[in-house]
Symmetry: none
Subunit: 283 residues, 2 copies
């Protein structure tokens, strides 16, 4: 039961001082969530003892218990919905469960603000460099595939050719770096070098502990589930695809024109068999 309802249920039995306390609590719930007895007493213009009596009148053992109850409620509010359903039963497909969880988390992290922050530099940069460790290549490929159909000068850097390929990078370019624990030395060092060079780093990684996180604020931090002995690429791929979609929606006609020209080229070279439905181009 919420603190508001709790107070309502006893409001007719409250003494004048207790009423002042109640008003203070209702006016600023954070007082009860974080505050001490002393703080609340001062705010309500009363003594600490009255605060404790107020708590007992609400049916708690003391102030501590009242505060614990309030905090539990706040915790529930704050924890993500995916977190709440985490402890379901039926571990028939633990992998599926893990991946779905990670996916939920990915969609939560990749909200409008985050996507736009990552897409904006990509839209305007003269060159895009995509870096990735060998083991997290799937996400990088998804991004490369989508971006290169959307705008020019997108390059995917193979690990063994990092130096040779990156030497063309200039200030104002953007490097999108995929890297997850345990972080590839090659990718991290390359990112750091590019950053020093004035290249904007967009990081798709797995948490504030990532060495990439200290390089840039333009980043998303994904939860990576395990599939058997290896890490899943699904979150990285989702991030890449949403990022592409965001870039497309920001570039609008420019991207659409490029896609159409690509389509002409495909038709001319007979790339496809043209069976089945065309992919969706309305979004």
């Amino acid at each position: 039961m919420s603190i508001q309802n709790l107070i309502a249920s006893v409001n007719e039995r409250l003494t004048p001082t207790e009423l002042r306390i109640a008003e203070a609590v209702l006016d600023d719930p954070m007082l009860l969530t974080f505050g001490t007895v002393s703080a609340l007493a001062e705010r309500a213009g009363t003594s600490r003892a009255s605060i404790v009596r107020f708590a007992t009148k609400l049916g708690f053992e003391g102030y501590s218990e009242l505060q614990k109850s309030v905090r539990d409620g706040v915790s529930q509010q704050l924890t993500s919905p995916s977190h709440r359903v985490r402890h379901q039963d039926g571990p028939t497909a633990p992998i599926q469960f893990e991946i779905e969880n990670a996916m939920h988390q990915a969609f939560e992290v990749l909200d409008d603000t985050c996507l736009r922050a990552m897409a904006d530099p990509i839209v305007v940069a003269p060159n895009i460099w995509i870096l990735s460790g060998e083991t997290s290549m799937a996400g990088a490929h998804a991004l490369y595939s989508g971006l290169s159909m959307t705008r020019p000068n997108v390059r995917l850097i193979q690990e063994h050719a990092t130096g040779r390929e990156l030497c063309g990078a200039l200030p104002g370019d953007v490097a999108v770096v995929f890297d997850f624990a345990r972080y590839r030395k090659n990718a991290v060092i390359a990112a750091r070098t590019l950053s020093d060079l004035g290249v904007t780093i967009v990081a798709i990684t797995d948490g504030p502990l990532s060495p990439l996180s200290s390089l840039t604020e333009i980043r998303c931090e994904l939860k990576i589930p395990a599939v058997g002995p290896f890490d899943s690429s699904v979150p990285a791929v989702i991030a890449a695809e949403l990022l592409v979609a965001e870039v497309v929606s920001e570039l609008r006609d420019e991207a659409r024109n490029r896609i159409d020209r690509l389509e002409v080229f495909w038709q001319a070279t007979g790339t496809f068999l043209n069976y089945g439905p065309r992919p969706n181009r309305d979004a």
Copy 2:
């Protein structure tokens, strides 16, 4: 500045114990919001003093000040209306729905029987050839990455080099082909040629109408959602990862030994930075 960014900004200067603290804090932010120094110390398996030092390293006067900062952030979150509506709608909601649907369908299709049917040939074949259209490369890469860490003689075929690379294929080999509507002529023709040659085809595709489906009974048929103007690679990646997991579990010690040897090699060449927790290898 959020606690996550704060930790990110110093993550490379953290000592092992402080890293454990950081992990605990990131894992359960409520611990920092409500908990005491003692509680955090116990959770992180360290002493109270280290908690205080951790707080100072983050730039605060002490733990109290750190906690105050976190609480200020939480207060803002709770009072701002954006928090309440954040998890409901948004431009990514329909995409999320589509992808989740496709994912469920993928897990349904990729049941034990199907996975084993696809994994069995891969386990015994002398050579594995992975084919994919340029646009559905992410799944192929996920499979290549996983399989090549699991068994020898796995090759990913680039479209422009199909002929040159595939001429080494022999009867008894296995070709895993990724292809979705609108089907790549190159991939389909290559698969057909290989099939005629006596190579077992394992198809990861999108339905009975696929030209690949007529080539082999060893296949899975996925539903492919759209993300913006392009098709999602997520189902293909999931299929690839589950397939790898199945192959690993069938190869057992053989795969484990190879992974261990790979690990030795990684260690020797210093591939990783080895920050953060090791990936899960128990599953």
